[in-house]
Subunit: 320 residues, 2 copies
Amino acid sequence: LCQMQVDEPVRLPRLSRAAVCGGTHGNELSGVYLVREMLKPENRKEDGGPASLLMLLSNPRAVQQCTRYVDTDLNRCFTHATLNGPASEGAPYEIFRARELNNLLGPKGSRAAVDLICDLHNTTANMGLCFIAYSDCDWVCLHIFRHLQKQMPDTPMRFIHFDVSTKESYSLDSIGKHGFGEFLPFIGPQPHGCIKSNIYTAMREGVQHMRDWVSCFNSGESNVSMAQLPVCRGFKTSKCFLSQDRDFCLLRPGEPLFQTFSGETVKYQGAEALYAFFINECAYYKKGIALSLARKRRVSVPSIPSVSISSRFIYIYLSM
Amino acid sequence: LCQMQVDEPVRLPRLSRAAVCGGTHGNELSGVYLVREMLKPENRKEDGGPASLLMLLSNPRAVQQCTRYVDTDLNRCFTHATLNGPASEGAPYEIFRARELNNLLGPKGSRAAVDLICDLHNTTANMGLCFIAYSDCDWVCLHIFRHLQKQMPDTPMRFIHFDVSTKESYSLDSIGKHGFGEFLPFIGPQPHGCIKSNIYTAMREGVQHMRDWVSCFNSGESNVSMAQLPVCRGFKTSKCFLSQDRDFCLLRPGEPLFQTFSGETVKYQGAEALYAFFINECAYYKKGIALSLARKRRVSVPSIPSVSISSRFIYIYLSM
């Protein structure tokens, strides 16, 4: 699909089944509270969006404990290997839950999988609203992104591309129809276990605009979009940050990057100016990842179903 | 002591034993990293401060797991009842640890207790550097506070008085010599489980200024100080916050306070304009406390050992 000529309009099937998930990490509260709110009977209005819109709390046990996960990170359990491996009785809770979700929303890689999965996350980094997707030619996802950019001009918004194969993709959104509409909106900064009204409101607005776009798309109206995508290289350190809150600012060689606990400054040693993001994401301390880096590049997005092409800067993934 | 005439200079014994504690809550990382840094041999310099300065990680198991506590909140375990009650084998880990710490730094209420306990905390609220003490006439503590205010003029700083009796006082700092030098500097905003360089640096600087003041005090030089103290009333709710980050701004009757998840605004219904703090502190969600309120009042602080009196606005505690 990615090799197709972008000046040809793309015809895509209707998005008849979609899912909005919150609480995949139980202490990322915006999605938890938003899904709970949307599940209230008075809010389950029909708006011409997907014929079937499923709202769910992905990891209810972790939500109850207000912790990222109970036994292991649920959002790393959706590889083919983990979903299809032997299930022993003492396996982590999240392995069982991942299989349940795969039955409900997948099976991953099959025609039965839902058409669109939007999995809501928070970050302690100052990343604004950030889409992360495994594909840089997921037109549905890119068009939704562009629609949100237009509708929410005051919210900083980026599209990040993680270049991981379907087989190796590990997150909940990867069990949706591959190549279309699987994305993780991250929004921050917000401490895990906390909820801030501005972050919650932006997420609620974003989800509503996504539903509006799907509704418009399903009705056959055309939309033109474009996007920005990166992928990231992790630093194996978690010193203090001078770059705090400077997500998506250009980091130039020789610029101050870290501050050690004794007060010394460590400079960025790379040869190329790059964009830092996920700066000081709390949940990545354990992995020793202090920040991620991205190169910006331009992608072209075809119109749906029949309009002109447009192009924009995107962020390129840098493998480790 | 509090009834004494403030125009009489106060003569106090030397502060010969002091403790700086971090990690009483294992996911409040500024204190954890600062204590670790200060424990390094190259940083254990003699600077004429307390004859014996003990640095310790209060809850090493919680620190290891990067969680507030393992079984129960350690910083609620230092009441007389909990420290002296019967110890069953299946009791929470923190009860045992509280007793260990009481043996090391206390016993609470005894002459053997250390002269000064400074227990380092973080908050997700936007509180700057905030001293919390059980006394509004703890001259040592007030003088240290005033010294920090002078030395760090760019750091917002407040002194909060929690009017709790010695017997009912529950936090680690309460096992130091009662009425003198027991305080919890809170500093924020910082997500729990994260470390920000500006917050870490301010805490390090604050602890150094405290040591300098103690050194100066022990050498017999005089210091004049004053302070600001509040105490708080908790709201039994944890809706979204419009007042986010507005800690210590005056909250007037009828002003917007909360936003509900459906988008409605809830106004402050109190009859009196008060100061809100601990706004959206993550760890207080479980208790249903969304913020605390304080009234400001003026306290007078006598000189040590022989100088003039000064007075300042302080915050008054409001009981629930």
